[in-house]
Each structure stands twice: as structure tokens, then as C-alpha cells.
Point group: none
Chain length 202, copies 4
DNA sequence: GATGAATGAGAATTCATTCAT
DNA sequence: TATGAATGAATTCTCATTCAT
């Protein structure tokens, strides 16, 4: 007998993506079995293959979609400070990055920790998108440096440091914890700005 | 850990640890098979069990050893600034943390990304060590805050941010890259100190 | 066979038979998947079942059709030498068999090598048709033996040998190769006739 | 718990080869599952992989071993007629080929019908051995033709015909059937020799 | 200590087939 | 008739682990 009633094609695919996101986040991509995934979705293992072509392909799909969304939301967020100075733009970047990494913490975590499991082509694709995103921050730092506002030392290294610091929130931030998202953003904005504009060492 | 006394026993165990470190770093713990490991060491799979009791046990051994080493070296490094002020101690912390994370980048990476694969007991053990290490930094921040030197907002969150930023070096730092380790330490020291002592936002 | 009446039904069924013939010849029946078959035809897998009832059923249909055609053409070919002597009839048999096995090499190949995959009933059906065909040759040999023309030793065994020899052409004959079909027929006629009428061993 | 008592390594491998030969002959390579094979041997499926590296590899091993044996026995058989004339050598060839194809009918059958399932490299390897074997017969025919004894028409085509005829015995010969192996050899020797030395067509 | 052969569970993937739309 | 999504059993192969030798 075929087909349980309900759950049409697109709906099933959406369920697979959702379940995949959850399970990969919780157990890691290698550790997640398609058995688990199918069970979570409520279909048979073989039925997965009506929607995905490969386990790796699901991973790529999730990460790629996340990267696309990242750029989409980034552009929207930065549009609000278009034409403004490097300080305002850096503050906007911090606010956006922290927000996105809190709201999409699972996508973000997977997108950073499971790259190893991508096929070479897919790997290259994602890595180049990540570089392009880093570049966005580096550009802001360069502008700030050019304007005599920031002292970065090295814009690339400063950017890596800032990104690492901000991205960390997806690890420890708890929605109803001691601090609100806004407080964290305020703190980290000060810390980042202070780091680039503050006093130099001994 | 199943360290067995014998003729070339310790030597073999050391080879297993070395190979395990390499393979787990390269492929991830789940993705590394004991067959690969045995091949890398140059023995048969079955022989591994004369030295380890479990695959998971090897992972725990590697991480635990790394944590012990971390504390050992931390204590040695901080002894040099014993009795000095928070700023000197924070600079010493930055220097130590960056150095360790560059030199032991594989241990550090595994110790952060493969915790998921530990048994509950082992997991708790390592996580509490990590918390204890974080605590060391938080203490410095607290002292700086108490002394009116630092404005952290929230010492825990500030510490997480600093740790994330500094730990990032194990991902991107290349020994013969554009910047030396010392330059990176100088930059990040300024950035961290500036972040805590610099101007506040709008 | 599940030939369904309809608009482009027969055309689709013909396409399925053609594609099936090709794929089974190339990969073997077990190795051919219905997915491959559907793709070759240009429809979806499920749609195949509007035309066939079973994978095995398609195989039987192909082989059975081939056997029917074999007898049809055999009768037509032998009608031309009706009433003539065993030698002429044997030459006609050789010419017919070689021709058919060159022209229909895929059907012939499948009809010999994929019998194993037929259901018991279908298997019996085809095997009995094959025996009936062999019988046609044995009859000719018997007549030649009775007429004092041939010395077969054992008509069955002689027939098996002749059939094997002639059937072999479907394996190695290439349409534009060194020899024409007519040359092969001439050679093999001589060889077969010589074998039955030639000198006896030591 | 590991290992059932008995059945050491080489013995197990021999059992696998024997069971593989039987099952592939009976069901075909594609249709034989490793489940079946393991069950026939009396071990678990996974244990097969202590002895073979791949299902295809087992097939290659069986066929390659058969080809090696074929040449070994061929050389031994032909040594007995070394230095004799083409007629004696052809009779020896017929006797050898028929005998081998009766005694090793399963190896022979597999070696002809399952080539499709070999990897390209393995396929090439076996096909070239088969060509080399055909060459042995062609050489005899060429010598007979040169000596004015045989009229082949085309030595290659004649050889293919002879090989097909003789090889056929592995399909229909039954050890305790109507004819003994010796009778079949005698008949086919006459038929082959007659075919090459007998009268030419109309 | 090392080896090689075993286990049994589990991996991803493919298969023929069904059927509501 | 065709489609797409489902089933459930089967496929080859890999895994960590055990243990007699």
C-alpha cells in the first residue's frame, strides 16, 4: 500500500529540511542517520530519496540556503545605514550579525562546523560565499581606517577577531537568559568600537 | 585510559594518540574509523584494543590530556605576572591563550568541536574544566572592573567574547603567513584592552 | 501482456519494448532497473505500470514475441525448399538461422541468457518453444541420415553442435566487418555439411 | 562474542569461492546476494569482507583463476601432441576443450556470461586472455591451412564456429546421459575435421 | 602485544511496486 | 494515461568490538 494521507511533496521536503536542521545541529552531520531523519519526518527511509538525492546534498542545501538568506538579510539591514559613516555602519553590522546568529543559531552552527562533510565543489561554493561575507566587514574596517577613525593593525585579522567574537553568541546566548539580545548588541558594539578606536598598548 | 605497560607498548600508544589527533582533526571523530587509525599507526585494528578500551575513550583521553596541559601551561604563564595589575594580567592571558591556540590548534579544535561525541560522564568532566578555564578570565575581568579599570558590562559575556575572538586564531592563523604570532598578540591585546577601556557608544 | 488500448498507448508500449530490449541487452535483465527503463522511454517509473504488469512480464513478452517471430520467419524461409532434399534443407536452415541471429542479435541474446529470470510457467513455455525449434533441425538431420546422406553419430548432439556454432554469430559478427553475412553463411554451410558428410576419424 | 570454532582463514576463503561459484552459476552474478552467499558459507554477511574486498572482486577472482587453470591444463594437454601435425593437434584441442568444458562447466559458464559485471580493468584483462586462447586454435587452423590440409575460408571465423560448437557442451552435456564424454569427443572431432577437410558447397 | 577472523548492528542507497490525484 | 510520492524490503558495504591463537 502506498502513501499515508496528507503530506504532499513540498510539505514533505520542508519537513525534511526542518528535521535535518534539528538533527544535524543536535548530533552532527556524520552522526545523524537517515533512519533518524526519516523517523523524525514520519516517512520511510527510502521515501527520503523522492526529495533528496544524497545525504550530503541535503547538507549542502541547508547550508547554501542559509548563506543566501544571510546575504539577503544583510543587504536589507545595511540598506538602512547606506551613505552613513563607518562607525554607524560597523554598529549596524554588529547588530545584524548578532541578531542573525541568535535567530538562526542552528543554521549558523551547521554552516560553520559541517563544511568538512561537503563535496569539494559544494565546499568551494560555500567557502567562497563565506569569504565574500567576511569581505563586507573588511570593507567597513578599511573605510574606517581610511577615514582615520579606526586603527585596525590589520583589517583582515581584526575582521576575523570581530567575527569570531560575534559569532560566539550562537553558542552561549539563551533567549530568556540574564541579558537581552539588545544588551548583548550594545555591549559588543562598544567592545568592538572601543577595540578599534581605544588606546594603544604599552 | 588503557595505557598498558610493556616493551613497545608506550611507544605504540603514543603513535595511536598522534595518529588519532591527526585523523580526528582532519575528518572529525565520527568520520574517523578505527581502521583508518590502525592503518595510520601501522598495526591491525584488533591491536588497537591492547592500548585503548574504546573509540570514545581515545577521544576523551586526547581532550582530557589537552585540558590538563592547558591548565599546566596557563599556570606557568600566569606565574610570571603574579601580583601584577589586571591590565598586565589580561595582556598575559591574551598572549598565553593565543600562543597555546596556535601551537596546539588541533587539540584545541577537537576539544571544542567533538565534545558531542563524549559519554555523559566524560562530557561533564570536560565541560567543567572548560568552565573553570573561563572562570580564570572572568576573575581577571572582575578584578579590573573592581579596580575601576575595565568597563565590561557583563563580565561573563565579555569573557565569552574575548575567548571567541582569541580562540579563532586556531582556525585562520598560518605560521608563515602575513603576520607573526607576536603581531597578532599585540593587535588582539590592544583590541581587547581597548574594548574594555575605550569610549562608550551613543 | 498488459497492452492497454488508448491514444498514445501502443506507441508508448512500443517505446518501452524497444528501450527494454536495448537495456536488457546492454546490462542484463537483473541489472536493468525500471528507473533506467522509464528514463530511456522518457516517462516516469509509475507510468510504466500503465503498460506492463511486472518487470518479469516485460521480459517474457520480449522473449515470447521473439520466439513467435523466429517460427514465423523460419516457416517462411523453409517454405522455399519445401519438398527438396536434406542437403538443400540443411543449407536453407543454416542460411536462415545465421541471418536471423545477425539481424535479431539482441532478441536472440536475451532469449538465451535471461531465461533464468523468468517465472516457472513462463520459463517452461519458452524452453518448450526452444526445444520445438531444435526439433526442426533434428528432423532434417534424421532425414539426411535416413537417406544415407549424413552421418551424424547422434542427431541430437549434432544438432546442438550446429546450433551452438551458428548461434555464435550473434556474439562476434559485425555488419561492416571483414566478412559479409553471405560469406559467413557460405563458410558455415560448408563446414556443417562437411562435418556431416566428410571423412571419419582415425 | 567473536568467532565460531573451526573454519580458519584459508578454509573460509575456499568455502566462499565454492559457494560463490555455485550461486553465481545458479542465479547469475547480479541475482546472487551476499546474504545468500554468506548463508551458504555459514558466516555473517560482514565477515565476507575479511576475505573479499568487493562482490565484483570475487567474480573477477573466480574468472581469473579459471582462465589461469584453462591455460595450465591446455599447455599440459597440448604438450602430448607437441611436434605432431595439425590434424592430431586439432583433435587434441577438441578433446581438451570438450573435457575442460564438461568438467569445469560452471567456471566456464560464468566466465562467458558474467563478463558484463566486471570492472573495466578486470574486463579488459579477461577478454585479452580469452583472445589469447582463441589465438591458440587459430594458430592450429593456420598451420593446417598452410599445410594444405584444411580449407577454413577464414581461420578466425572458423575458429569462432568451432569454439561455439564445442563450448556448447557445458550447456547440455549430462555426465550420465545417453553419450559418454568420449563419444561426444569422437563425434565432434569428426564433425570439426570433416568441416575443414570435407567437400565444398554447390 | 600483535594478528586475523569473526560478529551483529547499522550505514546509505536502490529496488519494484502501488495508488490518489 | 501520466505523475509524483509513498512503501518496505533488499542491496552492498562499513563499523566498533571481541577473542583464540
Amino acid at each position: 500500500m502506498a502513501r499515508t494521507i496528507g503530506s504532499h511533496g513540498p510539505r514533505t521536503m520542508e519537513a525534511i529540511r526542518k528535521a535535518g536542521l534539528k538533527l544535524i545541529y543536535e548530533h552532527g552531520f556524520e552522526a545523524m542517520s537517515l533512519r533518524q531523519l526519516a523517523a523524525e519526518v514520519g516517512i520511510q527511509v527510502g521515501s527520503l530519496y523522492n526529495h533528496i538525492s544524497t545525504k550530503e546534498d541535503l547538507l549542502y542545501d541547508l547550508i547554501r540556503t542559509h548563506m543566501d538568506e544571510l546575504f539577503l538579510q544583510f543587504d536589507a539591514a545595511m540598506a538602512a545605514v547606506d551613505g552613513q559613516g563607518p562607525e554607524e555602519r560597523l554598529r549596524a553590522f554588529v547588530a545584524f550579525h548578532v541578531t542573525y546568529h541568535i535567530v538562526r543559531k542552528r543554521e549558523v552552527f551547521i554552516g560553520a562546523s559541517e563544511l568538512r562533510s561537503l563535496e569539494p565543489n559544494h565546499y568551494e561554493d560555500i567557502v567562497s560565499l563565506r569569504r565574500r561575507y567576511e569581505r563586507r566587514l573588511i570593507d567597513i574596517l578599511d573605510q574606517g581606517e581610511a577615514a582615520g577613525l579606526f586603527r585596525c593593525g590589520d583589517a583582515h585579522v581584526a575582521a576575523y577577531g570581530i567575527l569570531s567574537m560575534l559569532t560566539g553568541v550562537c553558542t552561549w546566548f539563551r533567549p530568556h537568559g540574564r541579558l537581552t539580545k539588545e544588551q548583548v548588541i550594545a555591549m559588543y558594539s562598544d567592545q568592538v568600537l572601543g577595540g578599534l578606536m581605544g588606546p594603544r598598548g604599552p
